[in-house]
């Protein structure tokens, strides 16, 4: 082979390598849409009939507000704030930069931006389920932009960026986003729920009442779709490098999809088993799959799969208990988002400190993984989520912009603001909520769908 032929072969190889990087993240992003298909199904199913479409509308619009705002300022925040709250120069990530559009010579920016935008939309969807049936759509979308295009990505800049202060100062390790996505979104949701208040009828004389899903099978299928989407999400957390480097984590240490495959599946199985043991209930058991993966996500690259399984069982076991504690505190988290994402995300970051201390980090000067580094990192994630969620929802509440009026809530959001019916030929929800047809004459299943 002549030198010229070798050069041509090398150029072709490098081009195909760059194309493979794009192909990988393209499909990760596509699979991540499954997360939103799942949230759509499970929140519609978890709602009562009278709010089914309004809940779904929130999920559809989540993507439509996070994607553009992540383009306008989210990507810039990630690149400008790894050092803390003072922005560094990241003009290349501003929407008017030539980097932020089709460029023959840039086979990376767009595909990474897309994956991160979908991570952001996931944080909005995490909150979405918690606040169903009484939040104003406009308030929800404002809060979604805040968590999806500002708050989580600020935490991501600190805990994921190669120059992030949590990594460089504390050795923070969170490869699968237990902290930067799940803990942030879970604690953000907690802050919102504290100002939003419970649904009418949720607490009677201080006792929590069951407001059960109108379509539990749909909710379960939705949860399983979220699990499918997690494979795109977790794949997007790995760096597909060109050259001789191969796969690395977002922190630059070597890993591979095999490591993630072992531990993602063992985490799912352990979480399901754990949640079943403490709940015996299908919605919680299926949520346990999420809880298990989130509990082990921060250390997916490091754990022995047997350890992953045990840790995920612990996450699944404790998740329903934390959910009950939240409820006992008078907080109406309709789908357990605080327990599944907030608690298990927090726990996941801390567990890396317990079981994976001593692993080295690759950036020069970055300390190794330590318990204190992980614990402080987890607290930072929780606070970074909670404060803006609580503060902005309090402001919206004071402006009477957070919650729908009581009459609207009692009638159902679909009737008032959605020009469509979910089941026009099956369940005469409109007649029932207007009082023209008693529920017991409508042959409704005794599922509490019209309990309020």
């Amino acid at each position: 082979m002549t030198p010229a032929e070798m050069e041509a072969l090398k150029a072709a190889f490098e081009m195909h390598q760059a194309m493979n990087v794009e192909v990988f993240y393209w499909w990760c992003t596509a699979i991540m849409f499954m997360i939103h298909a799942g949230f759509l199904a499970y929140e519609i199913g978890a709602s009562r009939v009278k709010n089914a479409l309004a809940s779904g509308m929130k999920n559809i619009l989540t993507l439509s507000v996070v994607i553009p705002t992540f383009y306008f300022f989210g990507w810039w925040i990630y690149n400008a704030f790894p050092g803390g709250l003072v922005p560094a120069d990241a003009a290349f990530a501003l929407p008017w930069s030539t980097s932020m559009g089709p460029d023959v010579q840039d086979m990376g920016t767009g595909i990474f931006w897309a994956a991160f935008a979908l991570f952001g939309a996931t944080t909005g969807s995490i909150m979405s389920g918690a606040v169903i049936e009484r939040i104003r759509l406009s308030a929800y979308l404002i809060l979604t932009v805040l968590v999806g295009s500002v708050v989580w990505i600020l935490a991501g800049a600190w805990g994921w960026h190669p120059d992030g202060w949590l990594l460089l100062d504390l050795g923070y390790h969170d490869v699968g986003a237990s902290g930067v996505v799940h803990a942030v979104a879970g604690f953000f949701s907690l802050g919102v729920l504290m100002n939003l208040g419970p649904r009418i009828g949720k607490f009677v004389d201080g006792k929590a009442m069951a407001i059960v899903p109108h379509n539990l099978p749909m909710a379960l299928i939705g949860l399983m779709l979220i699990i499918v989407g997690f494979f795109g999400f977790l794949g997007g957390c790995i760096i597909f490098n060109g050259g001789e480097t191969g796969w690395t984590t977002i922190y630059g240490n070597p890993t591979n999809l095999s490591a993630f495959a072992f531990n993602t599946l063992m985490g799912f199985a352990g979480g399901v088993i754990g949640a079943y043991l403490t709940s015996r209930e299908p919605f919680m058991t299926m949520s346990g799959g999420l809880a298990g993966i989130i509990t082990v996500a921060a250390g997916l690259d490091l754990y022995y799969p047997g350890l992953t399984f045990v840790l995920a069982i612990c996450g699944g076991l404790t998740m329903p208990l934390v959910g009950k504690m939240v409820e006992k505190a008078g907080i109406d988290d309709a789908v357990g988002a605080v327990a599944v994402h907030g608690w298990c995300g927090f726990l996941g970051v801390v567990l890396v400190g317990v079981f994976a201390s001593g692993y080295p980090n690759t950036p020069e000067g970055a300390p190794e993984i330590t318990f204190m580094g992980q614990f402080i990192g987890a607290v930072v994630m929780a606070i970074t989520g909670f404060i803006p969620g609580y503060g902005v929802s309090l402001l919206l509440s004071k402006m009477n912009m957070l919650r729908v009026p009581p009459k609207v809530e009692e009638a159902g959001l679909d009737l008032v603001e959605i020009p469509a019916l979910p089941y026009p030929e099956r369940v005469p929800a409109r007649d029932i909520v207007e009082g023209t047809q008693p529920a017991d004459e409508a042959s409704l299943p005794a599922n509490g769908a019209l309990s309020s």
């Binding site: 559009g101 759509l137 603001e417």
Partner: protein, 56 residues
Amino acid sequence: MNSSPITSWEGAAAYFTFADSPAMIAILCGLAVAGFIGFMATIIKHEKDAFDKHED
């Protein structure tokens, strides 16, 4: 409207519409932001109208 920033694909880099015109990019970016804000304002108005109508 000639929006092409390139006259040849040879050596092309950023080639999207108006890539060589910062003023046009600023205008289009402003329009995109305005469209988004308008969408949010429309939702707030729709909610208010729907809630007022129901309460009446």
